[in-house]
Symmetry: C2
Subunit: 143 residues, 2 copies
Amino acid sequence: MTISESNQHAIPSDTFISEFIDTLTFNEDGLIPAIAQQHDSGEVLMMAWMNAESIGETLRNNRVCYWSRSRGKLWRKGESSGQVQLLKNFRVDCDADTLLLEVDQTGPACHTGRRTCFYRVVEGDILKTDSEPLIDPETLYGK
Amino acid sequence: MTISESNQHAIPSDTFISEFIDTLTFNEDGLIPAIAQQHDSGEVLMMAWMNAESIGETLRNNRVCYWSRSRGKLWRKGESSGQVQLLKNFRVDCDADTLLLEVDQTGPACHTGRRTCFYRVVEGDILKTDSEPLIDPETLYGK
C-alpha cells in the first residue's frame, strides 16, 4: 500500500517523543484513552487505548497504532483489515490524560464494517442503529 | 436558567434506561468513558466518565451529568461554571464500553476557559497551544 506523505503530521524527534510521553498521565495499566476523529468531516470514529510504545510508534510513523487490551499487544490499526488511520494531528487534553487523534481513516473504522463505532443512538425507548456497514466484515477480515 | 425544550433528545422511560444501562460494559470502578462532541460543529470538547447513576440522570434531564473521579461524586456539568451541556444525542459504541454524547455546549467546555479541552497539538518538536480561553477561568469559577 502506498501512502501519500503530503500534508501529514511533522515527525517529532525521539527526544521530544520521550519527554512528551513523560508528561502524560497513564492509568494503572499504563494506558491512556485515545479518541479518533476524522480530520475533515469531524466524525468521531472510535475510542481505543494507547501505551507509551504505541504513542511513540504512532508519532514516528504517522500511522495510528493502539494497544489492544483484549490481545495484550500492539494493534496497528488496519493491519488485518487494511483500513488504516493516517495521523493528521495528535492532540492532548488539559489534564494530559486523554488523547485526540485527528486522522484520515481509510474506509470503515469499526470492526462491523461501519464508518464509525458509534452507530447506535438512544431515541426515546429505542436503541436505534443509524448507519449501515460500508463493507461486509467478512470481507474485511476473511482474506 | 431557562432551557429551550425544542429539538432535544426524547426522554426514555425508566424501564428502558435501566435495561440500557444493563447492556453497557463498565470498568472495575463502575465507570464508562464518555466523549462530548458539539452536535453541530463536530468539535470534540472533552472526555469524562459516567457511572450508572449519572447516565440515568443525563437521559432523564437532557443535561449532561458525569461522575467526577477526583471528587467522588456526581458532576452536573456547568453546576459551578454555568457552562452546561444540553444533550442532543446519546450514542454507544459497538462494544458498549464507550459513550458519545452529542451536546450543545454553552461557552467553554474546558476548566481553562477554552471551548475544548484538546487545545494542545504536537507540531514537530513543539506541543503547541492552538486556542485561547473564551472566558477567564477566574470568572467561571470565582463567583
